[in-house]
Symmetry: C2
Subunit: 304 residues, 2 copies
């Protein structure tokens, strides 16, 4: 039974993502993202589950900075959760009983339309997490909490509403991290994540992305993070389609390594949406094998 | 006296940034970033001050999404604050009196080394903002608060420590936003911000950045934001050197407009660091004027 450290507390979207990865795992909530990742680095946990994109509870830049520093960890899986909230109240309470509603400020921001329609005259209060709002309702501090659906399983509260969301298609993405070791097998629908440190000159970034584009590799996410302590360098976080075991991906990574100050590999893992990568003409593993054989023959003087 | 709405509450880094922009402005704290920007859109405030990068109180992706939606607003200035905290206690208290210390979780994460050294056995508690921690100290809920320096001006608390930071060079960046109107004058050390929506195909992003690179324009920040409701499109937030009044910048923006689904101009404004943009050979306004005159003469049949 693996031990998964996650960015807590209990009853949050991150716990829900960790449980979605392995329903039988031992889940260990830790108070910050750096501490969850540190538990894996130190061998105190087998895996860590942390938000990486569009998080309800915030702190996504904390994930990026944590992955960039210290001993390497790699993603072995991702999980994507729809951002749909439950509204929890004390058992027996109705809409008429709700005078105060609490949640993490990011969560409140994502249900403003719903609150305007269903709780127009209710006072909104901020809590440190969606789960902390549920605890506050239990303690009688607030009348209602906007929470992750999983919170209903942890606290003896009633669901006044479920599937609450202003934008029905918003999602939060989580990574499951481990110490470096055997990579997940390629599935044909994989994603690779890296950090790249490049010189801060016009054209360096365009050149780097062209290395991916010319091999038909689709970039699904890019984000620059300043390196304040090293003037003139910039760090980029990149997600792109494909697995490091594929020739075109390996070839592109080697090119980034030659071109940049530093590349940190953050893992190749199956995409949550399962949509297979497209491989454009001339960039498949067979194309690479044939061109390598052709080049080798030329170099041996056997062909021309 | 301008009225500046800002992401509150009072006593946070964002208030400090707003005051740094205009010490005589009327500062109006609002509970969320969307509400602060909405106040400018509705004409209830002249300007809004919101965090845009590496924020201590989080919610930076909220800024990006708010700028992308609804009626346009443009940045007219940026302010950059060092991430250095004050530790506030009730007057007369010393290190020996501190058993609990509170702050926003992002702020706590940035002072872990300092706390480990100076408050090793002190319990750390999360608050909804750095200012809320100060209020909690005043109310006797906690013994110490890790806050923005400006909090000391709002609350009758004593500074146990100032200039507290694990990384001495970390900064948070803020934008000052207004309704569209006359642009700030070019200074030679300007930044331009845009959102661009591009088709989600390999090479589109590389091509877009090459439009900037070939005109010698340095990209200082890039971040992709998913457009979940429009499959196959991606939105990028870009900061680059230069002012829209410059020929090379205007030329690049027009190229992005031709190439992409949509470009939203988010302003050209003086850079906080005042470092002049470099203009590489053949990309200055004079070069543009000369080449336009040469082309016009050819088209008139006057030259060859």
């Amino acid at each position: 039974m693996p031990r998964i450290a996650y960015f807590g507390p209990r009853g949050t979207f991150t716990e829900q993502a960790a449980a979605a990865f392995d329903a039988h795992a031992e889940l260990v909530p830790l108070p910050t993202i750096p501490l969850a990742v540190a538990a894996v680095r130190a061998g105190e946990a087998d895996l860590a589950c942390v938000p990486v994109e569009n998080s309800v509870e915030g702190a996504v830049s904390a994930t990026m900075d944590t992955l960039a520093g210290d001993a390497p960890v790699v993603a072995v899986a991702e999980r994507v959760l729809p951002v749909r909230f439950s509204v929890l109240v004390r058992p027996g309470a109705t809409f008429a009983d709700v005078q105060t509603v609490a949640s993490h400020p990011h969560a409140l921001a994502q249900v403003q339309q719903w609150l305007g329609k269903h709780m127009a005259n209710v006072t909104q209060l901020a809590s440190t997490s969606t789960a902390a709002a549920a605890v506050g309702v239990l303690a009688g501090e607030f009348d209602a909490a906007v929470t992750a659906p999983v919170a209903a399983a942890h606290y003896p509260l009633a669901e006044l509403a479920t599937e609450v969301a202003d934008e029905s298609d918003a999602v939060t993405r989580f990574l499951v991290l481990s110490r470096p070791g055997a990579l997940p097998e390629p599935t044909g629908a994989d994603r690779t994540s890296v950090f790249v440190v490049v010189s801060h000159r016009p054209g360096e970034l365009a050149a780097m992305l062209t290395e991916l584009a010319m091999r038909g590799i689709n970039v699904s996410r890019i984000e620059s993070r300043p390196l304040r302590n090293r003037f003139g360098e910039y760090r980029f976080y990149l997600d792109f389609d494909g697995h490091i075991a594929e020739q075109r991906v390996g070839d592109a990574l080697a090119a980034l390594h030659r071109r940049s100050q530093r590349v940190r590999f953050l893992g190749s893992y199956p995409k949550a949406d399962g949509v297979a990568s497209t491989v454009t003409d001339g960039t498949g593993d067979t194309d690479y094998r044939e061109s390598a054989a052709w080049l080798a023959a030329l170099r041996r003087g056997e062909d021309a």
